[in-house]
Symmetry: C2
Subunit: 527 residues, 2 copies
């Protein structure tokens, strides 16, 4: 059933002479399917087609784009259990996980479809003319968000459905009116091909212009580099490592026409553990954090990789409880052998740092299953003076920093880089004593959590999945929720245009019945 081909619009193409095998992540063995990296000619075709289709696609009504997104969701569901099984084989994650991940993926697509049906997200703004104003007349000005052009999306290894081929980046870019070329992730090329097929079927069934979606394979960096540096590509979506994201940012910044890269990169998601909470709810907190730390073999971007507290009885008890919990968690296979190796090396490196103490790990030695939970600790003083301890170790690992006092804890927070999230575990009263530190933390993160775990990113309008660099490339935008669409649009003003020439969203009669800012007031009224 899988072809291993690149999907260039509706054409299946494999011009490369050499392919790469998909890998069974559970066994490490090659699967029979061979995937063919896109060659120069195929990349050019995909971009050319995307660029041509953009002109037509951006003119398609929001309602028709909504139908397209809903059709994608339907076709993904139509793939049935085959999709879940393939994703599980290619990722070593259980089928049950993919049931919920598929639901999330489908819901994201439908969420953007609903946004388009409502139509008001374009932030239409109208200031009508004052032809008799002195000394000069005021023109009629009407502003709206419009699509930027073809977008390249890099699939993420850790969410083969929700952040990959038809994930949040693709859904929001298509919703915005931008054609999408996906650089399929080599860790799940079969899953990618199945989903790409679903998107293309939906595009044909809803009469979208060919070229609105393409899916290109590669096991290396050549295809991604060619896409990001192509003059007709106007934006990039990426979820992955800091080194990978930064490489794309640098490429995009050096182009004759620089373009934005929306990279959601790593984060150690610091947790502030306050004493009264540890005293009162030690076991409950430890249990919830053991779950958060080990969920999905620690392979979430919001994994709690750093816990900071004041040294003493309560922190020690918490560590004991946490270790007790993770000892019972079985080691597991990780997403890829590369990730597993990086995790092993990361653990080895951190445990070799001065004054770092191993607090506990899974009872199973996990020699053949590298994804074993592990907790280590270090004193605040050592953390502050050793920047290596602030680096992310992708996997079920957390470093606990023991500070002598609040002042040292402040210094630890000061030292942290940008993060997707930070959490504060505390009783309401003691939190007040830490207010300046919490505010400092807030200036570094995209989401600040009180008495909760960072994993489990709720998909809703008020979610911000972003944060200061290096957590993301651009703290102004979220990768999750409806506001993710704003990454792929930009404003344009129409001055003094006849009504019939304006986009429907800006016409006097407000045919789409959207909410607009008219002469400074938000209204659905016509003009």
């Amino acid at each position: 059933m899988l072809t291993g081909a690149n999907f260039i619009g509706n054409t299946k193409s494999k011009l490369s002479e050499n392919g790469f095998h998909a890998i069974n992540a559970k066994t490490g063995e090659n699967l029979k399917d061979i995937f063919y990296p896109a060659v120069h000619e195929e990349i050019e075709q995909a971009v050319e087609m995307a660029s041509k289709s953009f002109f037509e696609f951006q003119q398609i009504s929001q309602k028709d784009r909504a139908n397209f997104l809903n059709a994608i969701a339907d076709e993904i569901v139509n793939l049935g259990d085959d999709l879940l099984q393939r994703a599980s084989i290619e990722s070593a994650l259980p089928i049950t996980r993919f049931k919920s991940e598929r639901e999330r993926t489908v819901n994201q697509l439908r969420m953007f479809a609903d946004l388009l049906k409502d139509g008001s997200w374009v932030n239409a703004s109208i200031d009508t003319a004052l032809p008799n104003r002195e000394p000069i007349p005021k023109p009629d000005l009407r502003k709206i968000y419009t699509a930027v052009g073809p977008v390249v999306v890099f699939g993420a290894s850790n969410f083969p459905l929700a952040y990959s081929t038809a994930g949040g980046d693709t859904a929001s870019a298509l919703a915005a009116g931008c054609p999408v070329i996906v650089k399929s992730h080599p860790a799940h090329p079969g899953t990618g091909e199945m989903v790409a097929g679903a998107i293309l079927l939906a595009a044909q069934n809803t009469n979208m212009p060919e070229g609105v979606f393409s899916n290109l394979n590669d096991s290396g960096y050549a295809v991604g580099t060619a896409l990001v540096t192509h003059p007709k590509i106007k934006a990039v979506g990426f979820t992955g490592s800091q080194s990978g994201g930064r490489a794309l940012m640098d490429m995009a910044a050096k182009r004759p026409e620089p373009i934005p890269v929306y990279a959601e990169m790593g984060s150690i998601n610091p947790i502030l553990l306050l004493n009264d909470a540890l005293k009162n709810r030690n076991k409950e907190i430890a249990k919830s954090y053991a779950v958060s730390l080990t969920a999905g073999v620690g392979q979430f971007c919001t994994n709690p990789g750093l816990m900071i507290g004041i040294q003493g009885e309560y922190l020690d008890k918490f560590i004991k409880s946490l270790v007790g919990n993770i000892q019972e968690v079985l080691p597991a296979k990780m997403l890829t052998s590369g990730i597993a190796l990086a995790y092993s090396n990361g653990l080895e490196k951190v445990l070799a740092q001065k004054n770092v103490t191993l607090e506990g790990t899974s009872n199973n030695d996990g020699n053949d299953l590298p994804g074993r939970p592990l907790v280590a600790s270090v004193r605040g003083e050592s953390f502050i003076t050793n920047p290596k301890l602030s680096e992310e170790i992708f996997g079920p690992f957390s470093l606990i920093v023991k500070c002598v006092d609040q002042s040292e804890l402040d210094d630890v927070v000061e030292q942290l880089g940008g993060q997707l999230t930070a959490s504060v575990i505390g009783e309401e009263k003691e939190v007040l004593d830490y207010e300046p530190i919490i505010r400092k933390l807030a200036n570094k993160v995209g989401r600040l959590i009180f008495n909760g775990v960072p994993t489990g990113v709720e998909v809703c309008p008020s979610m911000n999945h972003g944060g200061m660099y290096p957590a993301t490339s651009d703290a102004k935008f979220t990768a999750v929720g409806i506001d993710a669409i704003y990454r792929f649009v930009r404003p344009i003003s129409y001055q003094n245009w006849p009504n019939h020439f304006l986009p429907d969203e800006l016409k006097n009669e407000n045919p789409l019945q959207i909410s607009r800012r008219v002469n400074g007031k938000q209204t659905k009224a016509e003009i």
Copy 2:
């Protein structure tokens, strides 16, 4: 009265041994005042102070920030005619121009003050918890825009008031809650110092934290480079040349922590001249374009530098009328000797290009007044094959491109880079024939004008003063109007926080009575 010092918060500092003279732009001679470039220590102090003040400033209520902005406006007005005279001497632009530019500057500050008093611009979004949701409870999430940190603003030479020390960038950054360090423009350091003094007086009178504003001098690139590459600076605002803007973009992109540069750079603002309009309104159009082309000695970023039409009788008549109009315009002094030299060189270079014809210039030879209006023409074919002809020549110059037919005109438009504006001069009926070309044009510009001139950027909510690169560094944002504030903020989500710990804008009782998105609906109601 002028000190020539750097204003580091409330401290006047001149540690440099060597200063530079302000220049009388009308005579080219040195003024007596000497300005002292900021040295390393002064730059460090200003940034350190800005960084410290940020923590306090971002906590100040929107209402108090509004008072600060209004106080700046008041203090600028209090400077009286001295300010207008100084600006005129340093720019060679007439006093009357500065009366209107001061009004615009003051109005911009008050516009942002009004925005803060209303308070709803923060896009507060609240999704309340569903603690009983299955399989997992939904947390309470509340999102709001928050200030990014200290901002560096580069004053622009062509708007010594409206786009400089207290111009749109400074006003929007302060409104957002970001401290500002201005790199004062060496072409008007005296004007800059006077306005900086007004800002600091307003800051003291409204009890703003010291460091919220600093003003640093430099006649070269050292201070700007040090500021843009300083780790504690979080964003940059710039209005100027493409080479200057790109240099800052590259610097910012290479930082360990890349930061956004909002550069509003050059634009040739193409005008599509359609035949029926030229036939019916030849003289009227020519007159309005002669005014637009020569206003402010052509030193506006929206100056109409390129006009494109179909060759023939009507275009020829239009050129004749346009030339007739500009012949009567007297040459004038330009903003600086550097700008004048670049304009002369630009004209010489463009007139030396193959197939470029001089159509007309001011009747005065203008040997000692380099700002002489000039119009040249070239055939479409030559324009398409010679990228040099697409380069901006800053000054009262326009190139007219004569196309053989609509298809060639399409090719000319295809060839254009990003622009701040494009205009279409046409009768409503003929415009329909050009719809695909106009749409193509729309994809390159920030503002599309019908039957009007690009100069005269209306300051209102629906204005977009932006456009695709190289017109700006980031087409997502406008430099003019209330939406300019969004350049200096980023979203943050609060998850499950107690009500009293939330910013006022997110509290249940909605104490500021702002409009918020609550569970998907826009409302001012409390929760």
